[in-house]
Symmetry: C2
Subunit: 395 residues, 2 copies
Amino acid sequence: MEEPIYLDHNATTPVADEVWRQMLPYFGAGMSGGAAGGRSRQYGNPSSRHGFGRAARQAVEEAREKVAAAVGAHPSQVVFTSGGTEANNLALKGAAAWLKPGTLAVSRIEHPCVTRPAKDLRRQGWKLREIAVDAECRLDLDDLERTLAESPALVSVMLANNETGALQDVAAVADKARRAGALAHTDAVQALGKMAVDFRALGVDMMTLSAHKIYGPKGAGALIVDKRVELAPLLSGGGQEWGIRSGTENVPAIVGFGAACELLPGRLARVLQEGTGLRDRLEAGLKKMGAAIFAAGAERLPNTSFFALPSVEGETLVMALDRAGFAVASGAACSSASSEISPVLAAMGVEPSLAKGAVRVSLGQENTAAQVDAFLAALGGELSRLRSMAAVMAV
Amino acid sequence: MEEPIYLDHNATTPVADEVWRQMLPYFGAGMSGGAAGGRSRQYGNPSSRHGFGRAARQAVEEAREKVAAAVGAHPSQVVFTSGGTEANNLALKGAAAWLKPGTLAVSRIEHPCVTRPAKDLRRQGWKLREIAVDAECRLDLDDLERTLAESPALVSVMLANNETGALQDVAAVADKARRAGALAHTDAVQALGKMAVDFRALGVDMMTLSAHKIYGPKGAGALIVDKRVELAPLLSGGGQEWGIRSGTENVPAIVGFGAACELLPGRLARVLQEGTGLRDRLEAGLKKMGAAIFAAGAERLPNTSFFALPSVEGETLVMALDRAGFAVASGAACSSASSEISPVLAAMGVEPSLAKGAVRVSLGQENTAAQVDAFLAALGGELSRLRSMAAVMAV
């Protein structure tokens, strides 16, 4: 049976073969058949003093250098976590623990792993202020000014939205936040690997990254932290990661994260060269079918297309496309919550009836023009089928 | 170059080949050469609705059943985490968030990922009560009674100590705790795979497990939670794990955890058959060299030997043995803190001069009698060398 065509790279990506090859020795298994290229097994605990431990420690530190280099940070600013969710929780709750409870400001289109911790903090006396976005998923700069006039202690605005792909001018947000005396955090999970991401240039105090969105493994992420920021750990114990994140390091996943970061410049060069060609091809076809493209007027990630076809439920379409061999998303991935209308589209003021039709295609490095064309053909077929069924039902 | 002999299985274990084979399809890489046995790539996000996502979801749920079955729990009681440290933090901080601040009681020999969160909770108004142990690393039952008379809200006592291997009668502790109106938690990370561990029989409300101590991968652990216990999440976001632990599931690591649990009955049968033969052989040799064996009078894990040789520093010995090709530990592994005297030995009242000599050997399934003999020979050689050096220095 042929493998379905995967068009859901904002949800997760496969591990790249080169990444996997670098991870392999750190499991201590599966090394027969020359897959590890003659390297020895290094399954030690990085806290151990013997050779196995030292090799694991060295691998973690090399990965830290690679992650730092990929985003213009210093290795000492990289705190490894189990993923983006943990890094976002650490940023908000960890920073809040050192601050006097005040106002926490986040955009209305953040991922739940920013909005939920923000809401959790209300129980500890924090006030939550949500910053509006416009109909194109762009931060409302007037509302940002009003928010900053309320002297928030911490501001979190994502670099690229996971659903629409819309980009925010985080450098400007960080600059304004700093002038207003607030710490600035950005969730760069969806941006990394799809555009240049530079910690210093963005000027934020904290930035969240995840490995499994950039052809690295699940189970590794990082919070990049300016050393001036004091963070209380969420996970305390053995004192790993400068005491900010205890727990035996997930060595293979961290090594894979480093390897995936090392591959980023090459991938970004291809992204720049190819531009939005494949997505434009997709969206031209979608528009012919009458689709509305969300945030089409915003600067967007080059791989993401979030759209709706009038009077067709997104969920229904996703399941029909799945049967036809195409993996796409109906709303926010990375969330077990479901079938409700996307809070991102609600924040953009999209009509609920249209929002219900939302489908997201997020392209990846292995996708081709032929696959896009096949997807459009399948979508067209499903649309005809669903609409003829609806016509029959309406009779 | 020959691989050194690994004798540090309480720190971490290599991933078993069979575990690794089951994990492989979930990376989406490295599937050439038939290593995956013809299975297809399943790198999806379990929250996705398409086939990739459903396959990942099914793999996570199958792993949940395997972990539950290994410890006599129901699958709905298994909350996957990034490892033992996160599970211990979740148990203590998550339960405390739902309770009125009161007294939290933990034994004096807990792993730092229990004692640190316990200390963290003092900032939220909790009182920390540490329960004493005797010279053999056994819980002081009189001090337990005195502690329970103080009506603690939560009691945490580990099943097996990571350094000495000493076992506690956690079933009795849990029974007494329940009668005193306290929730009971046990850290079973070191016990799992080395003795029978049964959640229901222990009668605790919460139990911590880790995959990488049982020939599973780093990056997966679990908190087994009785459904009557209310837990606030440490990591909130997409709502995975019933909202108790958000974040994209680390699918390959969770699959590996399940596979490692599935292998436990076979391993335990071997452990029971072999008994403490290999360790007895080791300790007989150690005693001939004049070693003091810590907690020798306690019931202990069959694989663990924690000892000291008078007037030889443990750290020095570990480094010398490392050069000779043997990987052992000097004190608590899983901890970046170092060179201080083991808090476990301090709690047991061991003289600091002797505690400084502490060395831990923790045997694993691949170790042999020949390796133990080779280790003893190497240790004897290093001892002679170090003592003759010391004699020269003392002249």
